[in-house]
Symmetry: C2
């Protein structure tokens, strides 16, 4: 891995500029996606069938995936995978239930009532990629928080395939998806945003996808809500001399195998550890199935930074604001206070990042490209709305009249003042 | 106002299409804004001075607004306005404090610890328009929730002016703004997103602005967080025969005076009320200072819909998902359960919408153009991050190994499985 030298500010700035470049999207796609969305808006189901034949080379009769097919998936799925999905589901549920928000109400003065209602978003669409990027774990991560929030209907879409991955259909059923449609790409996103004869219009779309899906999500944002546009995945590991180089290397590689553009960063105050991790990386790479992805990812985008001390390691990592943060130190929990920016934190030598991808119950849909400075993991809060309410009695509005009208007149908004004054008995 | 007839679904769809048109942005602006942002990124303060001379016709020496100027504003400001700002601040604080979230932690099984940290966003930028759109109330609404969230530094920017509106500087000081810079437009947004020699780079930008500001916010989204891109303001009033036509008309006009594009919608099951409101509208318009704005707004964009019954009124309004919703009925509180989509609700005959604009303490930065289907009023939650954390002991990861590796292999991600297996004593 490339080693970087400089002040934390300089290194963080450099890493950020590189990261932005890695997450650059192809703007040629924009126009094509615009056309596809416009076509689906007017053409509905027929447009979807057209694109399925064109892009997926499949002639679709029924757009909806039948209950039979879903039932069959339960027979076909590997039984260890089924058991693991059920256990993962339990953990994701028990973690996310803790995110449920309650409304509130107060009576700050006589005749005044204020509050906040929590309402679930009514209908949500979840995109699930096809082929090798079809991850049943992502189905659970997107659907379960929506279900806990109380979303009334969850629609899943996924590209048409000769044969669906059974674990995908199983995960959808376990998590509580209401309907599954076989439509992918920008055309699928358009169908969710605007609705067609078969596919109901949703209020929010979540889930990962390729450049066409990501571009389409951006374009329909505002018509519907979206979760986020994820860049390449990242891991940042803070490790000191107590860390096991084999563990650290394995965790860096688990990130690198995702994508040539994925980024693995090691920050350490131990040169000895840095050297040992590099030896381990090479050894582990040699027998890795996805070496063709992981090696160029590590060599091009992997970075090692030697820090002076513990505080400096955390200062740098807060500037980097990584998607995944591992703290490979003894008593890692005690360092939580030092973390300001990260999507998800993994504490200590045994908490390998893939635990979070699959199992612990925390969400694996996380902010990338330093956006953890201002955004968070997908959660129940992404599937609710907070609605304010206020009630003033006649006496209360009279008591507030002078203050409100002073401000309204100061802002030059006479009709605002009048709406208060008209309720006064003088009128 | 124009009266609409049809099914709730049809009317809602029509209103939505009209609303989208009202909020259409000018795409010619895109390129100009791109140029300005690129220039500020490379040129820093000098670029800001260039644009100030060009657009604002002011040669700037110091970009920062001095403490002296802020102190003087307290002498110049109208004392009734100062008192009203202080009272409004108290109400906004006491409402928003109730939105503060706590983290959580659980131990779902032996050796497993999971939790969620709440961290404030570090540095926030607030845009405040100049001229007649400089609203001190908006300063309070944007800054106070950030302050309650614990944001460490709040930077306000506002276009340079020969003389600042004293109430704006006073509101900034009262709310807890740390630094004020006199820079506006797209150049100001660029300065906040990328930083210059004088202006620190922020993590999130909030606050309303003209088309240049809105376009710039869209373009820097991802580099920084943003609040929302607001469309024209809207009010939806549900009223029955118990409503006072003079009150209803005054409230419709308080929305209409904002902007020719603003939209006022009345849904009622009483034809008598509908007729009486129209008479009142005409009477009140004749003496309104901003008649030139309010009249075309009401005539072009105002809508009255006659509904069959109470349930139908709420069904339609939930489809419309208005920014502001008034329930002008007796026992209005009892109808809260029927509301699914709205930014802020005003209950009963005396709770005029401007109470929320200025005073009650609820936020007036609200989702427009039916986006209350999936988003909420600005609040403390917009200025925090939720950071997940997990800790597994050696025994706990061994217990989870089979499940995690089953899923990793099923997804074809061997390095993910290995990161778990390497921690097993067998290795």
């Amino acid at each position: 891995m490339k080693r970087l030298i400089g002040s934390n500010q300089e290194i963080a700035q450099l890493l950020y500029m590189e990261q932005l470049e890695l997450s650059q999207q192809n703007s040629d796609v924009e126009e094509l996606v615009e056309d596809i969305i416009a076509h689906v808006r007017t053409g509905g189901d027929e447009a979807l069938r057209h694109y399925s034949a064109k892009f997926d080379k499949i002639d679709l009769d029924e757009l909806q995936v039948s209950q039979d097919l879903i039932d069959q998936a339960f027979d076909k799925v590997d039984q260890d995978v089924l058991a693991a999905l059920k256990n993962a589901k339990g953990n994701i549920e028990s973690y996310h239930c803790q995110q449920l928000e309650k409304g509130f109400e107060d009576q700050p003065s006589d005749g005044v009532l204020r509050g906040q209602l929590i309402r679930p978003i009514e209908r949500v669409g979840v995109y699930v990629p096809g082929g090798t990027a079809a991850y049943p774990s992502s189905v659970l991560m997107n659907v379960i928080p929506a279900k806990i929030a109380g979303v009334k209907e969850i629609i899943m879409i996924t590209p048409p395939q000769k044969e669906f991955v059974p674990a995908i259909l199983v995960a959808a059923k376990l998590a509580g998806v209401d309907k599954i449609f076989q439509v992918g790409g920008a055309q699928g996103i358009a169908a969710l945003a605007y609705g067609t004869e078969s596919i109901p219009k949703v209020d929010k779309i979540t889930g990962p996808g390729n450049i066409f899906v990501a571009t389409a999500k951006k374009q329909v944002f505002g018509i519907v809500g979206i979760d986020m546009i994820a860049g390449p995945s990242e891991i940042g590991i803070i490790a000191d001399e107590s860390a096991n180089p084999a563990y650290v290397a394995a965790d860096l590689l688990s990130q690198a195998e995702h994508d040539i553009l994925a980024r693995a960063i090691l920050v350490t105050n131990s040169e000895k550890l840095a050297d040992a991790v590099e030896v381990e990386l090479e050894q582990q790479l040699q027998t890795l199935e996805r070496e063709a992805i992981a090696r160029p990812s590590i060599e091009k985008n992997g970075r090692i930074i030697l820090a002076e001390d513990v505080d400096s390691m955390f200062e740098l990592m807060n500037l980097v604001a990584p998607e995944h943060l591992e703290i490979a130190m003894n008593h890692a929990y005690d360092y939580l206070d030092k973390v300001e920016n990260a999507g998800s934190i993994f504490l200590g030598h045994y908490t390998s990042e893939p635990i979070g991808d699959y199992y612990a119950g925390t969400n694996h849909v996380l902010p990338t490209t330093a956006t953890s400075r201002f955004s968070s993991a997908l959660g129940v809060h992404d599937f609710i709305k907070r609605i304010q309410y206020t009630q003033y009695s006649k006496a209360a509005i009279h008591a507030a009249e002078k203050d409100i009208t002073s401000l309204a007149y100061a802002e030059g908004l006479q009709a605002h003042a009048r709406a208060i004054e008209v309720r006064n008995d003088r009128n």
